[in-house]
């Protein structure tokens, strides 16, 4: 490559840009590059921020507390209806349902809900469940002591299993909440979504 090309790229054109001007421009560029880099970081910071927001508001069931002890809970005579919902992701061939769809529950009383999962496939499959609670506000008062969703679950070919959830709801649940839905979705673990759907 002839030298003038390189020179053109490597040294700033002198027209209209004296030293003072160049320094001003450099300062502007430095600041704006910082903003751009900062905003790239902000994009990633949205991930923890999003989780914090979910925990504060109870959105996405992320505020559900996990504990070992139920000792300090005081039972109340107030009751709420709890619906138990079960969904299976399309990648998992299991059958999955709640044993009891609806129950009337006494606040503050440790309780057990049973789910039933069955693997009709010819191979053992491992799945894991995610969970959610609506209304979101209720998840701030929802406490689980043990749940099948805490660990991976492997079902052998044709195996079916009862899967329990041990939980209680704190008695200081806001008065306006009368109905709560606890929902689980089972996903297949180690599953790669099919690629190249373009080709049938």
């Amino acid at each position: 490559m002839p030298l003038p090309y390189l020179r053109r790229l490597s040294s700033p054109p002198s027209r209209g840009a004296d030293l003072e001007q160049q320094q001003k421009n450099r300062k502007t560029v430095r600041r704006l590059v910082l903003v751009a880099v900062g905003m790239f970081g902000f994009g990633f910071a949205l991930w923890p921020l999003y989780n914090v927001l979910c925990e504060v508001t109870g959105l996405g069931g992320r505020a559900i507390q996990v504990t070992d002890s139920t000792e300090q809970v005081v039972a109340s005579d107030r009751t709420v209806n709890i619906r138990f919902d079960a969904t299976v992701n399309s990648s998992l061939p299991w059958k999955f349902q709640a044993k009891e769809k609806l129950t009337e529950y006494n606040l503050g009383v440790p309780n057990t809900a049973l789910y039933l999962a069955m693997n009709p496939d010819d191979d053992a499959i491992t799945g894991q469940a995610s969970y959610n609670v609506t209304p979101p506000e209720a998840s701030l008062y929802f406490v689980k002591t043990e749940c099948f969703c805490f660990t991976e679950q492997t079902l052998q070919a044709g195996e079916s299993r009862e899967m329990p959830v041990y939980f209680y709801i704190k008695p200081d649940l806001p008065e306006h909440i009368k109905d709560i839905t606890l929902s689980y979705t089972f996903y297949r673990l180690g599953y790669e979504p099919s690629t190249g759907m373009a080709h049938h």
Partner: protein, 543 residues
Amino acid sequence: MSSDITHTDPGHAVDVHDDHDHKPKGFLNRWLFTTNHKDIGTLYLILSLTAFMVGGFMAMIIRAELFMPGLQLVEPDFFNQMTTMHALVMVFGAVMPAWVGFANWLVPMMVGAPDMALPRMNNWSFWILPFAFTMLLSTLFMDSGGPAAGWTLYPPLVLQTGTSLAFVVFAIHMMGISSIMGSINIIATILNMRAPGMTLLRMPMFVWTWLITAFLLIAVMPVLAGAVTMLLTDHFFSTNFFNAAGGGDPVMFQHIFWFFGHPEVYILILPAFGVISEILPTFSRKPLFGYGSMVYATGTIAFLSFIVWAHHMFTVGMPLQGELFFMYATMLISVPTGVKVFNWVSTMWQGSMTFETPMLFAIGFVVLFTIGGFSGLMLAITAADFQYHDTYFVVAHFHYVLVPGAIFALMAATYYWLPKFSGNMYSERWGKIHFWLSTIFVNVLFFPQHYLGLAGMPRRIPDYSPQFADFNMISSIGGFAFGATQLIFVGVILHCIFRSKVKATGQVWEGARGLEWTLSSPPPYHSFTTPPEVTHNMVRHAE
């Protein structure tokens, strides 16, 4: 190349290397290595017109498939690739580079600067774009096909794209880097390179809107880059940002994407506001009504664009408080936008109006963009949005603000400044034919889509229920005619540059005010090497 000028006197910084109208010799030197803002502006505009044709061709495929119910021409997955690519090419390839092209040409001339602040970075910002678009378009020829999940790239669907997703992500990275560098350049030029006397509140509206647009770009393009990077790692490196099975959340992508996406739509339209604010006063022979309020309205729109993103995702299952907040914040935007429309109409009020092609496009913009604005208000009503969401009503809405909105403003700008850029007048007769055919057919194309959407036709589908057949056929006919009309546009531009015998004067338009009109047409290759002294009567606006 060293300058021997004393640094205390920027006014006499003469170039010791190039003669004033001496363009670099040789094709590569002139175009590939150019650091001249006018050449780079031209390159951007050529790229943009090319992308407009490519994206338009994809739209023709879409409308051809939708001409009748049933699957006629293309495979459903290819149809989805067309809707996705049409949007990506039009947004990132046609509209954004076109505005950067006009900014390159005009901002230095409008503020009285000799060139952009960072000419070499300017070259780099442009020249990575052709590579980015080659990469993006090449995915259509790959085994796994192009992206087909819509331009919003929502997971989990987009994660089913094959390995070509990596090309899409890197293409978006490159476009983002180009936009950010271009924006830094524009901001530095506007803040540091203004001629003496060109105070901020004397700047033309186009410069103001671009200054604010550039800040928007720097704020949100990196966020998009982050979001697509997370898609990339989710797809190829087993991260779980958006994978619900792994504890991630696909809804989070929508939040991050629209945090970028909403300011992005103002990035497409704010420079259009600036152009209209230049053209209407010229052909009304009156100063712009409410210049100051125009500046503040632009700033307000830019600020509000950051706090309305979730109106794109009302149906995602947000808490009621969230829906209400985003509804009211969205509706608030109609206040500064209304100020602008009011000012445009008031500018024309009792003016000595003439209707040359740029003026026709500008008036078409004001009327048709406002229709798009109103359907946007309808969509902002959370309760109503549940019916409109993901239907053709949304398609009609954003095409009204983007085609007779942003694209008409680009065409207005082309007719307005092409005589300045080329030194020749375009054919007024063909310009007017282009305007009227465009205006008629853009409405034939998009207006029926409102009805389709209200009747429940979903967007992004290659087939539909027979009840939608008539309106789709009308829309497709409008689409083909609008597409064909744009060939006239290309013809008018080529004729103006290469064949036109009518020379343009320096001022070009009788009512034109501003520094760029004080130069000859075409302007010298290096203009304002000595900064002009800007006085009160050289600018359109009294402060």
